[in-house]
């Protein structure tokens, strides 16, 4: 498919105070409050390669449906799945979670690639309002 929409990648990483296997298991357990699917209105999750997922998230007053297909699952090392949501505008973006041991902890790196770039531009104004309102809150976390 010839995709004319400009896309971008984003990367976030965090050191999690648990070994990679535990982080992996919790990430894929939609009943765990530590997992990314927790709090969704509905979750369907078939965690195997070529298994599909669906989850509906409430985010700032809107319900966002997410669909994807698992591409790679290596316990304690890597989770990779496609990701389609209103934010990807029909494009199949890819989420890759890499887990690396750091002593008794885990360095988790999450890369979300193939995300339409215009989404960022569209949110400039909203972003500004949010920034001024939430900066104090954010600084508390730093």
């Amino acid at each position: 498919m010839n995709v004319s929409i400009k896309t971008t990648d984003l990367t976030v990483s965090r050191t999690i105070p648990a070994p990679p296997e535990r982080v992996y298991d919790v990430w894929l357990d939609h009943t765990s409050p530590g997992g990314p699917w927790h709090g969704a209105k509905k979750v369907i999750l078939d965690a195997r390669v070529d298994g599909l997922f669906y989850h509906a998230m409430e985010w700032e007053g809107t319900t966002w449906p997410h669909f994807g297909r698992f591409l790679a699952l290596e316990r304690g090392r890597r989770i990779e799945h496609t990701w389609m949501s209103p934010a990807t505008k029909g494009l199949e973006s890819v989420v890759t979670i890499t887990l690396e041991p750091r002593g008794n902890e885990t360095l988790l790196s999450l890369r979300h690639s193939g995300v339409p770039d215009d989404e960022l531009g569209r949110q400039h104004q909203q972003g500004w309002t949010w920034i001024t309102d939430a900066v104090a809150d954010l600084l508390g976390k730093m």
């Binding site: 648990a18 990314p36 934010a87 979300h112 949010w130």
Partner: protein, 112 residues
Amino acid sequence: MTSSTKSVFVAISDPTRRAIIDRLARGPARVTDVAEPFAMSLNAVSKHLKVLERAGLVQRARQGREHVLTLDPAPLHEVVRWASSLERYWNDRLDRLEAFFTTEKKKKEEPR
């Protein structure tokens, strides 16, 4: 969040500095012009300007005997990027994962 993004957040977290940004968004200005509306010493305003300069938001150029300040909005785009929904979404998820294991660890370490 990178340390440079963090310094931009710190810079815009103060109402005086946001007012300075608003002033410079209308065009370059001399230090004395920027300081004029504030009920604080020139020295105090200079400290705020230093924070803005370190964050890369304000550039200073000498014109004769005057220092002229110009706004560079580029670092703000970095912040807006960070604030875009998808990145916030993932940061929120990772915050939750981290909090989950931190709580679990604390429970284990508590003496019975």
